[in-house]
Subunit: 462 residues, 2 copies
């Protein structure tokens, strides 16, 4: 019955059930996470999304919105069966308005495609999550995704100006206006960024774009001591203009990546304790050179460091290759991994890494650390052997619990860019007291009194 | 009775009623707006704020939070009598953390004092509302204030990382964490920025600070045509690095300001149609020079322009004096004014100014236009003669209604930095449909079911 009216709404070729649903829709990139559901729908317009949600409301059936399926916290995986609503057919870049410095894009557009189209117009969207070749703009907004350029530019929340949203009732609203400043009523736009699909379904986004910086420069610094690398992060963050990327790669990650790296990777043979990869973007070589001069001044005071500055685009690419190979390295040798993206204040990075070492020894696990150092947002990868996962699985929970507790004790937070979804919700009380959780639940009820939309996430109905 | 328990809570010297309340607490800078209330309290800590709010909840008495009293939309003026809670004694800068690039400050701190203290530590907080010599950080956050530097840096919402808030129940929460990236639960921090004191009372803020740019450069461009000035705004906004200020002063404002300006103000004698004032900040002269070279290239293509680049700090100060004298000019000659801060997409600026001209002629009123052109956020000042206010008052409403309708038709919004408060709430339906208003009311109820906190604002209980 519901299947039939859904067919009327989106067309019979865009509704699927039982054996007709391709297997990838049952999972995403979340560790060990999959979920059953009954019907997959693929609407092609905001009106169709509205129609589907209205039906779900009427039939009291849960609806889980799905983007590119690259999430790592189970946000797109149904926790209470029902319907999966894929945004994949809402995939148009509607306009790129250079003069007003924004673009309007449908939420099912692949983020990388969006970035490319913006650059074809001579403009720039600098937020580039690692998943961008597959992730959708809407999913990135729903998780407040970020990436290596956030230390200079910010995350999605800083770039989203306005959203078209289908509310759980099926009604369609715009959250703001297509302007760079707005003090008109509650900031629903920023509330929706990072709301993980539980308040409404994002169908269009108005996104700030920038003039494209003309030049960039990449360098890698090798450290023989982790303490010095962490100190360098703090000192380098004082340089103006701010580096657009400050990525730390610790020994654990260097060792894992080494077999996958080109033989000429700088300083690899010197057995470094850490790398820092820095990138500056600017309007002129002069602007960048002054930053790099300042960086050398900073590093001169720090100690046993070696610096390699890329002279060509190929050398810049070589430097960045260590971040690119990490994905393959982490699933080599029958490893699987759980990605922990806690954040700490940058001044606590060294202490945090020390605490991770203690946890690693205590549980005898392999933890690989690298990531967005200037934001205090490292990716800590818990590597587990696929063969022994049944044996080792029990330690995941205490390891994560101890890591999140450490981050929160240091003044940090559980997630910097992956969100909470289903996989991290058990750890929310480490950070939030009951009152803070209660406020979130009240906001959820304000939008979705029937709990139709992506239920079972964010501790909202537990 | 309530008076007595409030005295117990904050000390008898910090509770006032009847003739003991100084007159300034009954109004703010809002045009023609004042409001009666019963008790003024001045708590000195978050615990005392919590105690006061808890009592108000128990006694079902409205409580209106008050900052520096510089608001222009009536946000701090009680609409339903009750209690005014002044944050003036929560005025400490708690810490300035250079390494983690944030400062922690109590909400009753004067914004200019905060900026000065940040600069004493070699850091920079670039958001500087025109009211900053008197306004409080908490009030600026509650209104999502901005100022002339927002086109490069953004408004308060981009800088607030975390807030300590007293909820209407009296409970105290932190909305986020002291980190630069956060994807942990709903973004309550950004929801509170611009919430105008109706969801909770902000008591502390964690605010992002930046390394201080070493150099700056100011220039003024004179135009003989408004169309060319508006075109220049668009073309100049494509320059990287972005100018930190792009202020338009139209003929109406130039004429009003002229008698208050130094005789050597550039190009004043040439009877210009508009000025654009530009400022760049950067880490080096080289970085700025490249931007200024690009600006000259842009202006060369535009037409009849004259440019004066300040060679000294005094000359820069001279250029900016036209913005400084505006306040005095607008209350000269027995004028009073109503400040309209609608926003339009920058590409619509010229059309918007044309529509304002039509409205001006239709109603025979004086409209003075100047402001944040690159954000599309002009201040349009409706000047009225103090003597004739009783006669002229009736035209305020239709004039405002037409101006806001014009801005919204052009894709803009009612307020860029002043908020809605009581004075602008009648115009909200020009922009928001009933569903959008309903969502705001539901959020209000989620936080404040008894409607204790700053009632009568933002169309939330109308």
């Amino acid at each position: 019955m519901l299947f039939d009216v859904l067919s009327d709404t989106v067309g019979p070729l865009n509704v699927f059930r039982d054996g007709d649903i391709q297997p990838q829709y049952f999972s995403d990139q979340s560790f060990g996470c999959s979920g059953a559901f009954d019907i997959l729908v693929k609407p092609a317009s905001v009106e169709e999304v509205s129609g589907v949600v209205r039906l779900c409301n009427e039939y009291n059936v849960p609806v889980t919105p799905r983007g590119g399926g690259t999430g790592v916290t189970g946000g797109a995986i149904p926790a209470r069966r029902g319907i999966v609503l894929s945004l994949e057919r809402l995939n148009r870049v509607i306009s790129i308005d250079k003069r007003n410095r924004y673009a309007i894009v449908e939420s099912g557009t692949i983020t990388k495609d969006f970035c490319s189209m913006v650059e074809q117009h001579g403009m720039y969207f600098p937020v580039n999550p690692g998943s961008m070749a597959k992730s959708f703009i809407g999913g990135n907004i729903a998780e407040n995704a970020a990436g290596i350029r956030s230390c200079a530019y910010g995350t999605f929340v800083e770039f989203v100006m306005n959203l078209e949203v289908v509310l759980p009732s099926g009604e369609i609203i715009w959250t703001g206006a297509n302007v760079h400043k707005n003090a008109t009523g509650f900031n629903l736009t920023k509330l929706f960024v990072g709301s993980e699909g539980v308040l409404g379904i994002i169908t269009k986004a108005v996104i700030k774009i920038l003039p494209k910086p003309a030049v960039n420069k990449v360098l890698v610094i090798s450290f023989m001591s982790l303490a010095e690398a962490c100190r360098a992060v703090l000192d380098l963050s004082m340089i103006s203009p701010v580096a657009c990327a400050v990525e730390l790669v610790t020994r654990s990650a260097i060792e894992l990546a080494a077999p996958f790296l080109p033989a000429n990777y700088p300083f690899l043979a010197t057995d470094p304790e850490a790398f820092l990869i820095l990138e500056w973007e600017g309007s002129s070589n002069a602007a960048i050179e002054s930053a790099i001069t300042s960086a050398f001044d900073v590093l001169d005071k720090i100690g046993t460091v070696r610096v390699f500055v890329a002279k060509t685009a190929e050398e810049a690419d070589l430097i960045w290759s260590i971040r690119r190979v990490m994905g393959d390295a982490m699933v080599s040798d029958n490893w699987v991994y759980r990605d922990i993206d806690a954040v700490v204040p940058p001044s606590a990075l060294h202490e945090y890494l020390g605490m991770l070492d203690v946890i690693k020894l205590k549980y005898g696990v392999r933890l690989i650390c690298f990531g967005h150092a200037m934001d205090g947002n490292l990716h800590t990868m818990l590597l587990l052997s696929r063969d022994k996962i049944a044996l080792e699985g029990d330690i995941i929970d205490p390891v994560l619990s101890e890591i999140y507790t450490a981050a929160v004790q240091l003044g940090g937070t559980i997630s910097g860019e992956h969100g909470i979804g289903s996989l991290q919700q058990a750890y929310l009380p480490i950070q939030f007291n009951e009152k803070r959780l209660d406020i979130m639940r009240r906001i959820k009820v304000a939008f979705d009194p029937l709990n139709i939309l992506n239920p079972g996430k964010l501790m909202l109905d537990s």
